[in-house]
Structures are given as C-alpha cells and as structure tokens.
Amino acid sequence: MSARKLPRLLQTPAVLLLLVWMLIPLGMTLYFSFIRYVLNNLRRPEWTSPSLSNWRGFGNYEFVLNSKDFLFAIQNSLFIVCSILFLTVILGILIAVLINKTFPGQGIVRVLLISPFFVMPAVNAVLWINMILDPVLGLQGIAVGSINELLDSLRNAPLLGWFFSLWPDLAPISFRATQTSAYAVIIMVTWQWTPFAVLIFMTSLQSEDQQQKEAAILDGASTWSQFRFLTLPHLARPIAIVVMIQAIFHLSLYAEIEIVSRGNGNKNLPYLIGEFANNNIGAASATGIFAVILANIVAIFLLRMIGKTLME
C-alpha cells in the first residue's frame, strides 16, 4: 500500500458518513419537491403517502413561486440577516475596542458581556417581547408611561407649562404588529449575537502589534487614524468570519419569528417551510430547495467578500 493510500483509506468512513448525512436529507427533499405529497387529503388519499406515481414535475415550485408570501419571505430573510450583521459588527467593534483597554472590573464586565450568548433563542425571544418590548407591561411601556406622566405634570407647571404643552404624548410601539415585528426580531437577535462578535474581535485586538501602534503615534496618527489605518484592517478577517458564520445561522431563524408574531408581517424562508409543512410537504420541500439555493448565493457572495479582504 502506498504512503498516499493509507490516509485516504482512513478518511473514507468520515467522508462517507458526512456525504450520507448531507445527501440523504437533500435527496429526500428533492424527491418530495417533485411529487404531490400532503399529510391530509380526504378527496385524494393516494397523495398522503410519497410515491413516484404522484409525480408533479415543477408543479410544487410553480405553486411556491406563485404563493403570495414567497417573494416577501426572501426579501424579509435578507433584510433581517443584513440588519443583524450590520448592527452586530458595528456594536461588536465598538464594545471590543472599549473593553480592550485595561480598567478595574474588566473580568466581570467581560463575562457579563458574553452572557447573552448563552441564553436559548426561544427564551431570549420570550424575555424580549414580554418583558422589554411589550407596549404596556414591558420596560418600553413603563418607560413611555412614566415619560408621559412627567410631561403631564410639567404641563401644569407655572410659567413653563405652555412650553411643554407643545410636546405630544409619546405613544408606545407595539412590536407584535405587522409593520414592526421584523424589528423586534432584529433587536433581540442583535442583542444575543453581539457578544459573539465582541468575543471574536476582542481576541483579534489582543493580537494587534503594539509597536505598530507606537510607530503610528510617532508618525503623528491620531487615535482615529490609528483605528482607521491599523485596527480596522487588522479586524478585516475576523469581521469576515463573523459575517459568514452569522449569515449561516440567521438565514434559518425560526423561534424568534414564531414567538414574536407567529409570522404575522414577518416571514422568512424557514418559517414559510414550516407553514407549508403543516400539510403540504411537497411545497415545503420545494421551498427548502429554494432556501438551499439562497444560502448558496449568500455564501458565494460572502466568500468573494472574504477573499477580497484577504487579497488586500
């Protein structure tokens, strides 16, 4: 046996397992997406079990493409993912740079900062929507209520009262509404994933060369210029990693969407799949294939971006 063959042979089981792991679900999804397959149909009981005789060709795909929520779900998926990426990267860099300086209580602050990452997504969503964002009982409601009370009492104040009577009462925002439920999801996921970005950026900042900083100081670079010309390029790779990993995770958000509004005004592809899967497995599978295509497009896009930052 040649020296090359043995390692290959030893790798084979792992590779095979991985292939099986990925190919079987993908193959079944593909198969279901081309047949009529529903869980419940009294008129056509033969459709309730998967079989090649129920072949539907591209019918399921057509059905999905024509369903009213499909384009909206894709758009909304991208909107949510991009917003979260943007916010977590900006916040992550800000916080990482701030806590990279030494200050008393650094250890505790760091642990606290990381902790949101260990909250389960569903718990996170319930906490945010009920305790913080709720327009009546949540922090938001309480804050808006007390500001309005304060305004009220100021309006009755002598002399300056007329000035405050020009101010309107604040209205709390209902984050379960059609127009706002996507924002609620963006807020809570950003809160949960910013620590991840902070963690990655912080480790990267710690490996930054201090002599380069000193050279820049001597070269007359301001704090901003040091950040712009040294720190930010140094962070390019970790930013690419954070974007990549988060994009993969957030394309498949589900729990938050379900808990905030049950998809009201806020669907993404996984949620749409879930809705179809209540009965129409064929349509759900076709949507799944679309989701795979979307994920690949996003991945290629991101890989290009990462490639570029590395080439720089």
């Binding site: 060369d209 050279a215 720089e312």
Partner: protein
C-alpha cells in the same frame, strides 16, 4: 537641528527604579550609540526620548526647548523599531508616505518625497509590495525610509539590525553609516552589539543597570576605559583580567590585557600555558590558553594564521604599554 539633552532623568516601573538620575547631552549631528547588557535600560531611555514612555522625573530638552510634555509626534523625532513595525496592510509606498499623509501633506508632494526616499534606499522595485512580501533587509530599509521622509531632527534606532543575518547586518550597518554622513542628522542608536557601536558611533554611551558608566568616542573607550565594566564590554574578544600577585606587580588590584596586545611564543614568555581551543579565522587566530596560573583562561589574538592546536604549550607576554590597571573598586588607575 537636533541637540538632545537629558537632565536628571529617572524612570521607575512601579517600585523598581530602572533609570536612576541620569544626565546626558547628544550634540546636533552626532551619532550616539547606547550599549550595555540586556535589561540595562537602553530601550527605556530611547523610548523616553521618543515620548513613548513618561519620565518619572527630570527634563528632556530638544534644541534647547523643554520637550518633556510634548507629545511624541511633535518632537520631530523618527524611530526605527527592532521589529520594523511596518503597517502590514499598506504597500511599501503607503508605509513610507504614512507620516506625511498624517501631516496632511498634499499627495503630489508625498509621492515625490516617497520616490526620493525609495531611490536612496534602493526600494524602487518594491514600492507596490506589502511588507510581508519583502526580505528582512528590505523591510528594514522601508522602516528607515518611513523615518527619513519626515526629515526629523533626530533618528532613534532600537536594535534595528538584530533580526538580520550576519552578512546583511554588515551591509545595513554601512548603509546607516552612509545615511548619517549624507544627512548629518543626529542619530541615537541602541544596540548590545559592541561591533556596531565601535564602527558606527561618534559617541558611545555605555550603560549598566540604568547608570552611564562612560561616555566617549569609540577609540577613547577602547584605549582608556574608565572602569573594568567598560573595559570588558568594549572590544572583541573580551579583555583578559588578571588579579592577585601578577596584578600587584603593576601596583593594581586588577590588570586588563586585550587579546590583541599579547605576544605569543612557542619558546619563551612571561606566562606559560596550554592551548584549549584555537579558532582559526584565516585573518586572525584566537587562542584560548588555560593553566597559565594568572587567570582561568587567557584569550589571545594573533594576526594571520599560526600553527597551534589543542594541547600545545605556548608562552604569553603582555605588551607592557598596553596594560590597563584598575583598583579594588574596578576604577582605572
């Protein structure tokens, strides 16, 4: 202009005083070299001059003006670091132009100055490369280029050649020497390589544990070291020290004889010994002689090649006019 004066300067890290009160003047246009063993505070001193390290007390004056509170960038000093500290994401062109860009200079003038510097440093072919794609010597030259374009009042070098191989080091040493001849700008150069110190300096500052042991021209330090430490530190191979009755004959506690000031003979001489290792360099031969009865080992340097080998018996005679005498405190007599 670049006259740098340190007045009563001290530095402590926490409770540890690294630099006890120290006075030093470096004249405009001088090439001053700080030498000393590792950890003696050379880098700390240089960083204090650059403004990267605060003084614990004392004053620094640059061209007669107190610079102690002046921020680093405004002191008009340029520093070349041991690790080069090039900006890894910028091309060589951008690296060299960076200080000018930070000074908000117009782009055409930046380009022109960068080209001039690159030409003088033989970097024209590499202007669009990244530092990672350069050799050690080229990186060093980029770092020097970045310092030159600012036209500083003084250059500060912190062991700039210690990451280079021996041959390159000799080449770069000459280049920096030529640079100084051409620019006539003050340079302060930190090294623990005494060959660099001897060959480049107008003025050598020998430091030990933050204290200046002696300041002077290389040859002055070589011929008239003020104490045993300087005598042992300057010169290669190291000076031989002899104590005991042999030293008392000369009325000193210790006498020092440089390896090159000892005559070797196979037949007669003052001290008889056995050859340990003979290093034949071609141009010179270093012979390490044991069992002389005056010191553990005496090193001698003989010009040219001489046929001695391990175990041979040789006789050594120090040249009478080249014997350095030191008292019990190690001070020159």
């Amino acid at each position: 202009m670049g006259r740098i004066q340190l007045k009563n300067v001290t530095k402590s890290f926490g409770d540890v005083q690294v630099i006890p009160p120290l006075d030093l003047t470096i004249e405009d246009g001088e090439f001053a070299v700080f030498v000393g063993p590792s950890g003696c505070g050379k880098s700390t001193l240089l960083r204090m001059i650059a403004g990267l390290e605060d003084l614990t007390s004392g004053e620094i004056e640059i061209d007669g003006a107190i610079a102690t509170q002046v921020p680093p960038a405004q002191r008009g000093l340029a520093m070349v670091f041991q690790s080069y500290a090039l900006y890894p994401h910028m091309s060589v062109r951008k690296n060299i132009g960076f200080p000018l860009r930070m000074a908000k200079m117009a782009q055409p003038e930046i380009d022109q100055r960068v080209e001039t510097a690159a030409k003088s440093l033989n970097l024209m072919d590499y202007l669009d490369r990244k530092p990672a794609d350069l050799s050690g010597g080229q990186r060093q030259r980029v770092a020097i280029g970045r310092a030159i374009v600012r036209e500083p009042a003084a250059f500060l070098f912190d062991e700039p050649l210690s990451n280079l191989d021996a041959a390159l080091r000799v080449g770069m040493r000459l280049e920096i020497g030529e640079l100084h001849e051409r620019l006539q700008t003050t340079m302060i150069y930190v090294t623990h390589d005494q060959v660099e110190a001897m060959t480049m300096a107008n003025k050598i500052v020998v430091l030990r544990a933050g204290v200046i042991e002696q300041v002077g021209s290389p040859l002055h330090l070589y011929h008239r070291p003020q104490n045993e430490f300087v005598a042992g530190f300057i010169g290669s191979p190291k000076m031989n020290f002899v104590t005991g009755t042999e030293a008392e004959k000369h009325g000193a506690a210790t006498i020092g004889i440089r390896p090159e000031h000892t005559v070797v003979s196979m037949s007669k001489g003052s001290w008889k010994g056995r050859v340990g290792v003979a290093e034949h360099l071609g141009s010179d031969t270093f012979i390490h002689v044991h069992d002389t009865g005056v010191a553990d080992m005496v090193t001698v340097r003989v010009s040219g090649d001489i046929a001695v080998k391990h175990g041979d018996t040789v006789y050594l005679t120090p040249q009478a006019d080249q014997i350095h005498k030191f008292d019990a405190q190690g001070l020159r007599l």
